[in-house]
């Protein structure tokens, strides 16, 4: 099992969600985050005072999937979240040791 964590552009969230549901992903967790990579920030000006805003608003999505689904999920995200301009985000894949479904007590892949 793997956790796939992606940082994407906020307006791409719905597209990514729909694409993942279509290939069989059962659920996901979404967090509003701020950060920067190569995109860097933008400028804001208030009464002549300029601020450089380094931390750009992004969305972080986490999904847990069985090993067999990992390549397909990664490929789907990369396709759905892509605009081709700077700041499209990144995908991180991590090992997942165990999962427990709290309601039933099921563990491992059954709990996904």
């Amino acid at each position: 099992m793997k956790v796939i964590e992606m940082i994407i552009k906020p307006f791409k969230l719905d597209e990514v969600k729909d694409a993942l549901i279509e290939i069989g992903v059962q659920g996901m967790t979404v967090t509003e985050v701020k950060g920067f990579g190569r995109q860097k920030g933008h400028k804001e000006t208030y009464r002549g005072t300029e601020y450089t805003i380094e931390f750009v608003p992004k969305v972080k999505v986490e999904v847990a999937v069985p090993d067999g689904l990992v390549p397909k999920v990664v490929e789907t995200i990369a396709r759905a979240a892509k605009t081709g301009t700077i700041g499209d985000g990144k995908i991180f894949v991590r090992d997942l040791q165990n999962v427990v479904r709290i309601r039933t007590g099921e563990t491992g892949e059954q709990a996904l």
């Binding site: 208030y46 009464r47 002549g48 005072t49």
Partner: protein, 472 residues
């Protein structure tokens, strides 16, 4: 612990003193049969023109002035409009501009100024400002507790409305002026020191200055300075006081390194809109009558606000590349500030120039502040000090007797002397407001301390001063 207890005792004793003092001063005298009617006593002190002229022609007594219902309705409406400029107008205009951890404190400061002056003006403020003149500098104590200020008109100030209507209209000006200063020391003043500072400032700076400019016998009024609705009294005084505050307080922690952008600009823009609406009461109401002069003041007020908002927006569009919401809102307020002293004396086209001047000059002032490095947090000086100074001087340029025969012609209408008179009034107000505010701040600082501790400032004033949060 003992120190804070000391403050509590001090505050309590002020209230007790006020309660004891009020009856002794004849506060309740209005309810008992009064020997001399208020109108007559007012005329005794400062004879109005008709009284002087009357004996030569006919010895018949002058009939008491008659209350006009239209005038009274307009002045009472205007009073409510001017209150709306402070709460909620200025409160949210400023409240939206601070960081979220200081939103409530900033809003509450405006709210509490309305409460403090609402009592101060009735007890002694109105008497000091408009009471019978003493040495052209200050009003006497004859009207303490509004003694003798009742339903009959006072012909010296407004012959067709009850004296109390004029009093309550002036009260709203006395409220907004100190509230404007709060923008300069926003996000770092101790609330207890704020309460003491406001009461001292209103009593020692505003009340005398209002007397100089507006009261019968005041030296600036005698000089012939034109200030229709309070360019010197309200805007120069509060703006320059703001500069003194910014210099005495020093910068906010993290100024220049941390981000200090407004936490809620929609609130600020709504606040600016309320200020704009309320300003019709401020300027058109200053005709203290419902007539053509009030209408003219209404028209130039709107025109100047619109022109100034456009001018500020264009200036920043050219200089910074983008027009901004905060710029448009600030520009409108700058235009309203500048037209204030001129509103009863200038025509519509002149008001466009006054507005454009205000938008550009105040924008430059606000940008310059960043270069000069003093932390006038919400630009009380940049907008009210600079806009008020421009407006007072511009009145000396654009005033025309064709608009108001009781006024004067300005430089552009063949009377350069008026510009000089305006400059003297500006200089007098600047020096008095700056020096006076500086001294008051120093006294409060030495006795109770002006500024919150660094930890309190970092935590935010909502939490450290009020144990509250604006957004839970």
């Amino acid at each position: 612990m003992t120190v804070s207890r000391l403050y509590r005792v001090a505050i309590l004793s002020v209230f007790v003193w006020a309660l004891l003092f009020a009856p002794a001063s004849g506060l309740w005298a209005q309810e008992a049969p009064v020997a001399v009617p208020p109108a007559a006593s007012a005329q005794e002190v400062v004879p109005a023109q008709p009284v002087v002229a009357a004996p030569a022609a006919t010895p018949a007594p002058v009939p008491p002035p008659k209350v006009d219902t239209g005038d009274t309705a307009w002045v009472l409406t205007s009073s409510a409009l001017v209150l709306a400029m402070t709460v909620p107008g200025l409160a949210i205009f400023y409240g939206g501009m601070v960081r979220r951890k200081n939103a409530l404190n900033t809003i509450l400061q405006c709210f509490v100024v309305a409460c403090l002056i609402g009592v101060q003006w009735v007890l002694w403020g109105y008497s000091l400002a408009f009471g019978p003149d003493k040495a052209h500098l200050i009003g006497g104590l004859e009207w303490l507790g509004l003694n003798g200020v009742g339903g009959d008109p006072n012909a010296d100030y407004a012959a067709t409305i009850p004296h109390q209507a004029f009093m309550v209209f002036q009260l709203m000006f006395a409220v907004i002026t100190p509230a404007l200063i709060t923008g300069a020391f926003a996000e770092r003043m101790k609330f207890s020191a704020f309460v003491v500072f406001i009461l001292l400032w209103a009593t020692l700076i505003y009340d005398p200055l209002a007397h100089w400019v507006w009261a019968v016998g005041g030296w600036m009024r005698n000089l012939g300075a034109l200030d229709f609705a309070g360019g010197t009294v309200v805007h120069i005084s509060s703006g320059v006081a703001g500069l003194a505050c910014a210099l005495v307080f020093g910068k906010r922690l993290g100024y220049g390194t941390e981000r200090m952008s407004p936490h809620n600009l929609p609130l600020t823009v709504i606040g600016a809109g309320l200020l704009w609406v309320g300003w019709f009461g401020f300027n058109a109401g200053s005709a203290v009558a419902s007539n053509a002069l009030a209408t003219s003041a209404f028209v130039v007020t709107n025109t100047a606000a619109a022109a100034a908002a456009l001018a500020w927006m264009v200036a920043e569009w050219v200089y910074h590349g983008r027009p901004t919401a905060l710029g448009a809102a600030s520009g409108a307020v700058a235009g309203l500030v500048a037209i204030t002293p001129a509103s009863g004396f200038v025509g519509p086209v002149s008001s466009i120039w006054i507005g454009v001047g205000a938008g550009v000059l105040c924008y430059i002032a606000v940008v310059m502040k960043n270069r000069l490095g003093y932390d006038d947090a919400l630009d009380a000086f940049g907008i009210h000090g600079v806009g008020g100074t421009w407006g007072a001087l511009a009145t000396g340029l654009f005033a025309s007797k064709a608009v108001n025969s009781a006024g004067a012609d300005g430089l552009f209408f063949g009377n350069p002397a008026q510009f000089g008179i305006q400059a003297v009034a500006v200089l007098g107000s600047w020096i008095f407001a700056f020096v006076g505010t500086y001294l008051i701040l120093k006294v409060v600082d030495m006795t109770m301390g002006l500024r919150v501790t660094d930890d309190e400032e970092r935590a935010g004033l909502d939490q450290s001063q009020h144990n509250e949060a604006a957004y839970s």
